[in-house]
Amino acid sequence: MSLFDSDFLKKLEYLSLVSRRVFRGRLLAQRRTKQLGGGIEFADHREYAAGDDLRYLDWNVYAKFGDLLLKRFQEEEDLHVYILLDASKSMDCGTPNKFDYARRIAAALAYIALADLDRVSIMAYADKPLDVLPLTRGKDRVLSILKFLENTKTAGTATDLATVAKSLVNRAQRTGLVVIISDLFDQAGFRAGVDLLRHRRFEPHVIQIHTAEEANPTFLGDIELDEIETGQRRKITVTERKLKQYKQLFNEFLTSIETYCKTYSLSCTRSTTDLPFDELIMRMMRASGIQS
């Protein structure tokens, strides 16, 4: 069974229709960018400075009050959607597989964006960008995106979102929405990368996924743990008490992600892999609708 079978494509189409009907005018390309420029919709005034185009001077205000104010308009342009897909080896585990789950989500979001006439770019990363799908537009590009995702494999020996974010910032022609699909098991911490994107006026959206086993491990006794990403090993004795402490620690990790996102008004979705991906997308869309 391939990663993106006909059932998957049907679900994508369904999600696309639902997104248009429910969130008409409020999604992706239909959203205004925060770029101010030569649009037709008035945004605000600013004081005139020497050298400004006199065509935009508000003569009515000058006539009435004698003040030289320049009219500013909101520029209408396509939304750029950057999907950062965590392809580190820590994603290649669990049942269902965490990386497959992440790829399906990436595909779904890309499909919806393309259907809404947005530009989509996908970057698979670990400790550095592994593979990049350049910005593309048009629904007819869906198959190439799916093919890209299908060919993407996990690699690397660490995860470094900050480096990847720096690379994206340098590489991106314009700012836009950045969807980070990852387990966020970043050895150096994911916050530096997200902060960089925020500071460079990108809109980060975090999707944290993990398996049920990661949230609630069941093994007890003397065990040698083998980290699949770094190959690091550790011999431990797992007691009931330690299990309880682990679960507490993991929940604190998830809560810290949520708190961080709320602090900076970032969208945040977290889920286990046993939740169907279309359900997760629906949940995301509902959350976006409430926020907008």
Binding site: T211, F219, I223, D226, I228, R234, T237, V238, L249
Partner: protein
């Protein structure tokens, strides 16, 4: 100082080496892939065990297992204290299972049960080389288990040690123990477990081999310490009960003594006894039927065995007497006045005397004397066994046999027997009354099938009927005929042998093997032998002919235990009697009177033939006094000697088991690695 019984087994300690190596090498752990170690590292690095025992927890398991192995090895090599090793003891354990050991202590446990528990602990503590024997001293000395070091055998013997109602026979038991140990006295000891209610305490205590350990605490007790019943000498249907009640406690006791005959209440006597006081009562009552007479104290004290006593009151059977006379007023009157006499008067002599009765022939006698017991008064003509001669010249009573029961209480000195004649007998006779020339005036002749008494005196001419001696003479004859069955059935104290006399009437019916060439059936009871021994040699020769009849009997105890025995002659020696209550004896094969094992004889009293039974009671002051007669060693010190009833190896093994259980529990809790 410790020594070891099996030091060679210490090689098992080498097991610790592989255990240690396994821990050092460590078993390969299960490997489990995880997506990240972030959280695990955080968990184990931040919360490192700080307590010393937590840091050593991986070693704790090793230490526990090594300790377990070492404890097991310790148990195998069987450590001995030096005194145990040096003194491979030979112990004779005497457990007092006398009646006083049935006294109930606080908690409802009898003294015997406590003694058994202590004895079991001692048996369990036996070391290799030690030997122990089990002897009981209740009523008699019994060796239950000979010298052995097989603890289980001893424990089974101790468990099966029965209770008895008999007084303590500690001196014989100690004598038995000394015989068991006589081949090697050194390192031998006799341990006595008793409550101290024993006679000759000082004698026993001074024996260097004996150590007396006490069981139980002093208790209050009121008891029947004497109990006998007899028929009244004054009244043929009356009886007298002798009862002594003793309060061996330290407080005054008010109680009631209830007397019942065949479960019918006869008398209730209130009794108040001061501390240590004894009171004796003699109670007079009447009953012709007899039966089971039970005296009971209305008292709830520590020992119930001595609160009741039982005896058999013999039945007074009617005596059939046939008087053949042509009108002897004196004989008729005196026989009619006798209680329990069924008198028949006739003028023609029958062929035989009434069964179990008496035929009285007045003056006229047939040529061939009838069978059975005969009383011939003033014979006028000769018969087959005697010849009647001329009248005596001086029919004056010169001598009366004082020792004979037939002539007891009779004073006839210088009394004339007018019409008395010279009598000559074809068989030896016993002359009970004689004239100055030694001619018999009252004689008794023994013959197979019934004795003869011949009185030569014309009652019409003599003043004998007017004297008090005449009815006494007739009464003596009748009571003698009834034998001891009508007098007294002695109660047998427990711990003694019971001499049971087979009822006279049933002797012929009891199956037996006659081992003598010519052994006539005895015709009289126990007094007969005393009569014979007191009389002349001619009589003695005949009566001395031994009865060599062997009879098979079954004896049933009050608790229903049955034992077979063989009686030589007319008397059976049974015992020693170890149970209080009603014992029954039955001829072998008598299905009517045999009892099955376990059935309570008391429950079938209605069917009991009391002639074939006897009663036994404790009636022993020493046993009823539930206070020790001297200072006893405490049983606790005996437990110390046996280290709480177990050997050291047992405790080591138990400790090892505890360690294994702890290690398992800690492992399940993941406290140890």
């Amino acid at each position: 100082m410790l020594e070891f019984a099996s030091p060679m087994l210490a090689w098992w300690a080498a097991l610790t080496v592989p255990i240690f190596l396994i821990y050092i090498i460590k078993v390969r752990l299960r490997r489990r892939p995880v997506s990240t170690l972030l959280f695990w590292n955080q968990l184990f690095d931040e919360k490192k065990p700080r307590a010393w025992w937590q840091q050593l927890r991986h070693w704790l398991s090793l230490l526990l297992q090594l300790a377990f192995v070492l404890l097991l090895v310790g148990a195998l090599i069987d450590p001995l204290w030096s005194w145990q090793k040096n003194s491979q003891r030979r112990i004779v354990l005497i457990v007092d299972n006398s009646a006083s050991m049935k006294a109930t202590e606080a908690g409802g446990i009898t003294r015997l049960q406590s003694a058994k528990e202590i004895a079991k602990g001692l048996a369990r503590s036996l070391r290799p080389g030690d030997e122990m024997s089990l002897v009981s001293s209740g009523g008699q000395s019994v060796v239950h288990v000979g010298l052995t070091n097989h603890a289980r055998l001893l424990i089974v013997g101790i468990t099966e040690l029965p209770e008895t109602d008999a007084p303590s026979a500690l001196l014989p038991a100690i004598a038995t123990a000394e015989r068991l140990l006589k081949d090697r006295v050194e390192r031998s000891e006799i341990i006595v477990l008793t409550d101290g209610c024993i006679e000759d305490f000082e004698t026993i205590k001074n024996n260097p081999l004996v150590k007396i350990y006490g069981v139980g605490k002093p208790q209050e007790n009121t008891a029947i310490t004497r109990y006998q019943v007899r028929r009244s000498v004054m009244d043929s249907v009356g009886y007298q009960v002798l009862i002594e009640v003793t309060n061996s406690g330290l407080e005054e006791v008010k109680t009631k003594l209830e007397l019942s005959l065949e479960d019918n209440l006869v008398d209730v006597v209130p009794i108040t006894l001061k501390a240590g006081e004894s009171q004796t009562r003699i109670l007079d009552h009447t009953s012709a039927t007899g039966g089971r007479l039970v005296a009971k104290l209305d008292s709830k004290d520590a020992l119930s065995t001595d609160n009741s006593a039982i005896s058999i009151l013999p039945q007074r059977a009617p005596l059939p007497i046939t008087l053949v006379t042509k009108g002897s007023l004196f004989l008729k009157s005196v026989l009619e006045s006798m209680p329990l006499v069924e008198l028949t008067i006739t003028e023609t002599a029958p062929d035989a005397a009434p069964k179990s009765g008496l035929l009285v022939l007045d003056r006229i006698i047939p040529e061939k004397l009838p069978r059975g017991r005969l009383l011939i008064v003033d014979p006028q003509n000769s018969a087959d066994l005697m010849t009647v001669g001329e009248s005596l010249e001086q029919p004056l009573v010169a001598r009366v046999e004082k020792d004979s029961p037939l002539t007891q209480h009779i004073r006839l000195d210088n009394v004339l027997f007018p019409g008395a004649k010279q009598l000559t007998f074809t068989r030896p006779v016993e002359s009970l009354i004689r004239d100055p020339l030694d001619s018999p005036m009252l004689a008794r002749m023994k013959r197979p099938g019934g004795d003869l008494w011949i009185l030569t005196c014309n009652l019409e001419q003599s003043d004998l009927p007017l004297r008090i001696a005449f009815p006494v003479l007739i009464k003596n004859a009748i009571e003698w005929l009834q034998g001891n069955e009508g007098q007294l059935r002695p109660v047998v104290p427990t711990g003694t042998l019971a001499a049971f006399a087979i009822p006279e009437d049933d002797r012929a019916e009891v199956k037996g093997t006659d081992t003598s060439a010519d052994a006539p059936l005895p015709t009289q009871g126990k007094e007969e032998s005393s009569v014979e021994s007191a009389n002349d040699s001619a009589v003695a020769v005949e009566s001395a002919a031994p009865t060599q009849l062997r009879r098979d009997l079954h004896v049933s105890s009050p608790s229903g235990k049955t034992l077979a025995m063989i009686a030589e002659g007319d008397q059976a020696l049974i015992g020693p009697i170890l149970e209080c209550g009603l014992w029954t004896v039955a001829p072998a094969g008598d299905t009517k009177t045999e009892t099955k094992e376990g059935t309570k004889q008391v429950e079938t009293n209605a069917k009991v033939d009391y002639r074939w039974a006897f009663a036994s009671n404790l009636t022993n002051r020493s046993e009823s006094d539930l206070k020790p007669r001297g200072e006893l060693l405490t049983a606790d010190s005996l437990s110390v000697v046996s280290l709480g009833g177990r050997a050291i190896w047992f405790y080591l093994a138990m400790l090892g088991l505890l360690l294994v259980t702890t290690e398992w529990w800690l492992y399940q809790r993941r406290v140890v690695g």
